[in-house]
């Protein structure tokens, strides 16, 4: 049977997220418990979390979370990393043995800083240097897979139900200002842990529910710019698209949303002249990055979250608030678990981004 990446596996899903605008710490059990009422939206073949603000003591270092098939792969990968980075710390990611999660690979994390000389010799900026390293390991080093590579953030994922994955990774011991969660319902067995979500590159992470119909149009376009879609998942390609639009093209979050969930031409034509020009321009310039088919995504980065639905709103997604916290989930039930007294429940329209930022200086 083919593994994830060798074949495209459509999935249904559950997503949830929480963020504190004040940058206050939230422990991981809050988010993994939120996944419990949405148990039926997953089928035990993938669950995961992204957490922001969890490594304050290493905030200026890139935190690589890596799966290894074998000890020897780790040695090989470490040797490669050392050529390019100064590794400040490398350790096993703590887990607990539970019957629900089995067959785990070797799971390590490294806190490291790129070697300035190497960055200079490749004539790219630091983030591009890190991204290339990740891409290189993931495409060329068999048995090693970097599933998290940002600063002061981390992804945790496994084959299993998301609430069990949370327990497995002892997420209640981490405190972050922002969390996203994902439960997966793939239509066949992904085979390995790297296929679980969130998908992450540098400090951006994506959880996604849907199956996009534009996949290959998006993939073949984005691969022109050095990205390699090794997993063949929607989440992976959406992450790369956002990385390209936000980091490489310098679009704002709102502009990026107008590219991937572009308003219909009829809507654009009804806008005031300036807005119309702007939206037309974005659709004209990035037609291949329009995403069609159902999706609800939560995009996370250092300092914020963006929730976005496809332009027809073919997937459920709801937002709510309580004090400094904002909640996002596929179902209201998940929000109620996180905060029984949540208010201002709102279902964003198709293509309408909901962007939440932590106050400046609070993360």
């Amino acid at each position: 049977m083919k593994l994830e990446g060798e074949v495209r596996i459509p999935s249904g899903c559950a997503i949830a997220a929480v963020i504190s605008r004040e940058g206050k710490g939230i422990t991981g059990d809050v988010i993994y418990n939120a996944m419990k009422p949405m148990h039926d939206r997953s089928n035990g073949l993938g669950g995961g979390f992204a957490a922001y603000g969890i490594y304050p003591e290493y905030r200026d270092l890139y935190a690589f979370h890596i799966f290894f098939d074998h000890r020897s792969t780790r040695k090989e990968c470490e040797a490669y990393l050392k050529e390019r980075f100064e590794i400040v710390k490398g350790e096993l990611i703590p887990t607990r043995k539970i019957p629900e999660i089995t067959n785990e690979p070797i799971i390590w994390r490294y806190f490291c800083a790129p070697l300035g000389s190497m960055v200079a010799s490749e004539q790219v900026d630091e983030s591009e240097f890190v991204a290339r390293t990740v891409m290189k390991i993931n495409t060329e080093m068999k048995g090693a897979y970097v599933f998290s590579s940002g600063k002061n953030m981390g992804c945790f994922k496994a084959v299993g139900y998301p609430e069990d994955v949370g327990v497995f990774y002892k997420l209640e011991e981490y405190e972050g200002y922002s969390w996203t969660a994902h439960g997966r319902y793939p239509t066949n067995t992904p085979g390995w842990w790297g296929g679980a979500h969130p998908f992450s590159l540098l400090d951006s992470s994506i959880v996604h529910n849907g199956e996009i119909s534009s996949y290959d149009a998006n993939r073949r376009f984005i691969e022109m710019f050095g990205y390699k879609c090794t997993l063949q998942t929607d989440t992976e390609v959406i992450t790369y698209i956002l990385d390209y639009l936000l980091r490489r093209q310098g679009l704002t979050m709102e502009e990026a949303a107008s590219v991937i969930a572009a308003p219909f031409w009829s809507t654009i034509n009804a806008k005031p002249e300036k807005e119309k020009e702007r939206l037309t321009f974005l659709r004209q310039v990035f037609p291949s990055l329009l995403i069609t088919g159902p999706f609800s995504i939560v995009y996370g980065w250092n300092g914020g979250l963006m929730a976005l639905n496809d332009r027809l709103k073919l997937r459920s997604m709801i937002t709510a608030e309580k004090d400094d916290k904002v909640f996002i989930a596929s179902e209201e039930a998940a929000v109620r678990v996180m905060e029984p007294d949540a208010e201002n429940f709102y279902a964003p329209a198709g293509g309408e981004p909901v962007i939440v930022r932590v106050k400046e200086g609070k993360f």
Binding site: I212, D216, F221, Q249, L251, R278, P287, S288, G293
Partner: protein, 501 residues
């Protein structure tokens, strides 16, 4: 010396029980097949002149006529087919190059028919175009590599010129001269009503049609017929014709008999002179020369119009396209070996060039591999026969398609493939006034609009089935295609999986 007799290809079958001797067939046949014998009071047929254009069949009010393939055959021979032998007789009779019209009719593989389209089931929903918006608008032209902002941080929204089409289809080049005034009028009016473009071909633009300029692509071919500043300025885009699918490696040929009146004036050449375009552009012997012509045309039009470079699909098409993409062209048009023509040497039409499906797939992939796919838009033609072919072409990577044969059929063409005779009974490929008037542009343009409306609906249905609600998300989306009965090599070139994979 006496010519070998070649038995007529067709038989006119007249049902005398039905024939009312209204003589419509006689009046409508420019080939003079039918005649009336007043002495015996019967209709007669001279089958040697019949080209099977079906004009008489279509107009016979009592359906008394049919044209059938003659069953008078030479002795069967798997190696020497009937046509092959007859072509030898013709050449032995005349000593000439055989001429043909329209596209390659040989039984070579049609890859469109070996590609199947996907639809959504369970994991994501199909979208119903009757209930949800479904978009087919495309912009052709170079896309900027990097977006720019002004001092206030606002997006700079100016782009290089883009050609806006309401659907990813254009009517491809057919010159005034090769087809009639009324055919051009029909195409121009239909393109305008549809929000797409038609293409003048290499014969210039009749002054009556300048008003359709915003929906006109004007062509600059090796003969430079009818090219002047106003002509370039009238258009929405300028196309440099390097080659055409039906006859790669040679230029257009229009016999002097068709260079009459306005055709001569529009082409800016004397009446009755043969319009033989040179095989190459004599100012383009290499890719760097092409760049100069591209920029000459851009200078002449003040960088306001996209420049299209049209080439025939030939063996090395991916490398050629890559060169064109770096030569300043905004759009590359590729014409496959099944593309039609008003006249071409038979041997060239039937044996030169490659299928558009393979050319498109390899060009699109090559431009992506080189990271320059965004430099150009890709338009493909050469027998795009239906909405399904359009969808397959877009999914393989085309930004839009060119259709000509389908447009001619809509206007009445019955593919008799004798355009070169100039006696088109349907008023299309002719300059004889009594024949030209047979194509009423009110009807011609209406039928073209109908055809494209129908295709647009079908494209939307097919897209909706795939769960795609905008054509942008179909472009290059090869995962939506599967091959049937194709070899591994063919699948590899097409960049698609086999059905069942």
């Amino acid at each position: 010396m006496k010519d070998h007799f070649i038995y007529p290809e067709f038989e006119v079958v007249r049902n005398d029980n039905r024939c009312i001797q209204c003589r419509v067939c006689e009046r409508q046949c420019a080939n003079e097949v039918h005649s009336f014998d007043p002495e015996r009071g019967i209709m007669l047929s001279d089958e040697t002149k019949c080209v099977n254009c079906q004009r008489c069949v279509s107009l016979c009010p009592t359906r008394a006529l049919k044209i059938v393939k003659s069953d008078c055959r030479l002795r069967e021979n798997a190696n020497w087919a009937d046509d092959t032998i007859k072509e030898i007789y013709k050449q032995a009779n005349s000593g000439g190059v055989l001429l043909s019209s329209m596209g390659n009719p040989k039984p070579l593989p049609v890859y469109w028919d070996k590609i199947l389209i996907n639809a959504s089931q369970v994991t994501n929903p199909p979208i119903d175009p009757l209930r949800e918006p479904m978009e087919t608008k495309v912009f052709l032209g170079k896309k900027p590599e990097k977006i720019k902002r002004n001092e206030d941080g606002e997006l700079v929204t100016e782009t290089t010129p883009q050609l806006e089409l309401s659907m990813p289809v254009m009517f491809s080049a057919m010159s005034y001269g090769s087809i009639s005034y009324n055919a051009h009028a029909s195409l121009a009016r239909a393109a305008t009503e549809l929000g797409i473009c038609y293409n003048t071909g290499e014969g210039g633009l009749h002054e009556d049609f300048y008003i359709y300029g915003p929906n006109t692509v004007v062509q600059v071919a090796s003969g430079r017929f009818g090219v002047h500043k106003d002509y370039l300025e009238a258009a929405a885009a300028v196309e440099i014709k390097m080659g055409q699918g039906a006859k790669p490696g040679i230029g257009g040929h229009l016999p002097g008999a068709k260079i009459v009146g306005d055709v001569s004036k529009t082409r800016m050449i004397p009446e009755g002179s043969d319009a033989i375009s040179p095989a190459p552009h004599h100012d383009i012997y290499s890719i760097e020369d092409l760049r100069q012509l591209v920029y000459s045309l851009k200078e002449a039009t003040e960088y306001k119009k996209p420049v299209i470079v049209k080439v025939a699909a030939v063996h090395n098409i991916a490398a050629i396209a890559s060169g064109i993409a770096r030569s300043g062209a905004d759009i590359i048009a590729i014409d496959g070996f099944r593309g039609g023509t008003g006249a071409a040497p038979t041997r060239i039409r039937d044996n030169v060039g490659i299928p558009i499906e393979l050319a498109l797939a390899s060009v699109d992939q090559r431009l992506r591999d080189e990271g320059i796919r965004n430099n150009v838009s890709l338009v493909v033609g050469g027998s795009v026969r239906s909405a399904a072919d359009v969808v397959k072409a877009v999914a393989l990577g085309a930004d839009a398609v060119y259709v000509a044969t389908a447009a001619l059929l809509a206007m009445g063409c019955h593919l008799c493939r004798t355009c070169q005779s100039g006696k088109c009974n349907w008023g299309i490929a002719t300059q004889r006034p009594e024949l030209v008037k047979r194509l009423n542009p009110d009807m011609g343009s209406r039928r073209l609009v109908n055809l494209m409306d129908a295709w647009r609906h079908e494209i939307k249905e097919l897209m909706g089935g795939m769960g795609i609600n905008s054509i942008e998300s179909l472009r290059g989306n090869r995962l939506m295609l599967r091959g049937v009965g194709l070899t591994d090599k063919e699948l590899e070139i097409l960049g698609i999986s086999h059905a069942g994979e």
